[in-house]
Symmetry: none
Subunit: 202 residues, 4 copies
């Protein structure tokens, strides 16, 4: 009841919550959201099933929250990254390096997010800080600054994202090995070249 117990209970809260979230992400990454039961998560986290419901109203909310947070945080970091850079090339390089490092640091989070997009992206609020929005912002600026030709912002953004994400996917499936961040420079070159090529007059 003193500050001490107050602190303790707060620590426990984060402990349990963090353990649950870590377990959820790791399991979701491997088996997909629907392939993981609350019992699985609780067992992996070393907590009871009921404990999960103190922090999340439902399994659905847990998945949405995890995805949403990771998605938003990725976007925010991406934006911060980009704002330090000048010009399209620097922006793309920074973003792609960021993605690659993210993957290298927490592949499970990536393995969770990639498939989860398909079902959760439509649910998550299309925030200003969504990774897609950040990428599209960079592309838009580049078009306005005549750094690249092109009318369709989405098409260019898709190209950039596709190059990185599919590479990550190949890595997950073992078709590519090694640290992804080592490939970041060449991926960036590819993305920039592709972006320019998209807008070329035939």
């Amino acid at each position: 009841m003193s500050e001490y117990s107050f602190t303790m209970s707060l620590m426990r809260v984060t402990e349990v919550k963090e353990k649950a979230e870590r377990a959820a992400i790791d399991l979701f990454a491997v088996r997909g959201i629907d392939g993981v039961s609350i019992a699985d998560i609780a067992a992996a986290a070393g907590i009871s099933q009921g404990a999960l419901y103190r922090y999340y109203r439902s399994k659905d909310e847990l998945a949405r929250h995890l995805f949403g947070e990771a998605y938003k945080q990725t976007g925010t970091q991406l934006r911060a990254m980009v704002e330090h850079e000048q010009g399209f090339e620097a922006g793309v390089k920074a973003m792609i390096m960021h993605f690659c490092r993210l993957y290298d640091q927490d592949a499970a989070l990536f393995r969770f997010m990639l498939p989860a997009q398909h079902e959760l992206l439509p649910v998550v609020t299309d925030d200003q800080n969504a990774p897609v929005a950040v990428i599209e912002g960079v592309v838009r600026d580049a078009i306005n600054a005549d750094e690249i030709n092109g009318t369709d912002v989405g098409a260019v953004a898709a190209t950039i994202m596709g190059i990185v994400l599919q590479t990550a996917l190949f890595h997950i499936y073992g078709r590519i090995t090694g640290q992804l961040s080592e490939q970041a420079p060449s991926l960036a070159r590819a993305a920039i070249a592709a972006s320019r090529a998209l807008g070329e007059v035939r």
Copy 2:
């Protein structure tokens, strides 16, 4: 009920199977494999639940079969496409045009396959005719013919696939509109440029 069963018995086996598969793909595309029940498929196909088990041992096998067939067929068509073409550029153009047409013709099949990869690709036999294998073949030939620089076949293949698939994904989510096949030429240019850029010496 009896009229119904009468109709059923007049159906060709393939008819029933086709209806079931078509219904399954359409439903899987929209709600995902786990989001669709056998009852849903049977209802949409106008057949009984039990009938499905005459053709497939389980729902899992149905999904695997549908994915596998589509995957294999796409790969086969892709290979046929490619064999008619000479050189890397022509090959990539043909493949990308093929993907785009496939999407335009049967978006549902795409919407089914794209997310399904994540859980079914590891299960499906890594055939010679898998789309990935075909793309990698084209890339390998190009490298051998010195059309592009690059040591990592997978990296180039990932780039090419990523550009097309993410563009399709953007189309599914409404970020891109119009016929995808109209964008095929520019996507091909982007893919070729990206492939070349990947191998550039810095």
Copy 3:
């Protein structure tokens, strides 16, 4: 698949459904709706839990349906009973006799309905054929025909219902024994006397 099998499956349907409903009523009567689990009902009916869901979307719907049907049927029978009778006294006698016989024939149904009113009456549509409505109709006619004095139809109806239902409740709790229908005449006299007394000038 012939008419025979069609007939058979229909018979099974009613069999299972009836068994489930009978078990549900009997259990609800003794332990209350919330005190009975789907597992209890299934076990008592000798069917699987899942089987229940072919006929009812939820336990709630099962309870509502059972109550609603019994309630409506009681009302309908009551109305039929009453329409054969002339005047207030005959009407009340008929209704009370009907209630008593109902109780004697299926005490469990009564034991289910009496407590269930408290939670389900507000949910059930206030039909023209609700027992309350029928009783109120008889009362209203009596007032219009100057057979009884009284301005408040509800008050008189409450009195009549209260006399019968509380008597049934006493019987359930063992405070009264024997066939209730034997007591119907005296209950009717009491109800009629009470109805008249309600409207007397002080």
Copy 4:
């Protein structure tokens, strides 16, 4: 949190208990015992869930205690009421007026007790001071004093109780409006007339 616990420790034991009981009754009245969780009660009472277990061993005991207390107290008051009166008529009038006032003063308590009877009456000890016992005592005295004819004490008591309780129920459901105590005299007349009519020779 600390302010809160500070406040709590200043509370008198009875204060906490009273708040909990008041909250419990109010919630039970509206949603029924099974429809209310310990968390609901604790929240409404402004106490912790655990605190409830200092006063009651279980939720069941809480409900039983509340019902039992109210039941016993009502019976005791009823007995006190009756002992001041002479004769059957005066006794019934006093009892019914008491019931009506009780309802007017604390409708929630009534709304709690009425449905709760069905599950808790069999559990509560059949005390001498139970309302039913008091009513039956008055009836027994009246029979012995030849104020009413009748052999079955229970039947008469059921009639009297039924008239009052069902009227209260109608009031709860909105079929009757206004203060119930204003209707007490006419309800008493009805109860007395019904009691007499029960014993009449046909």
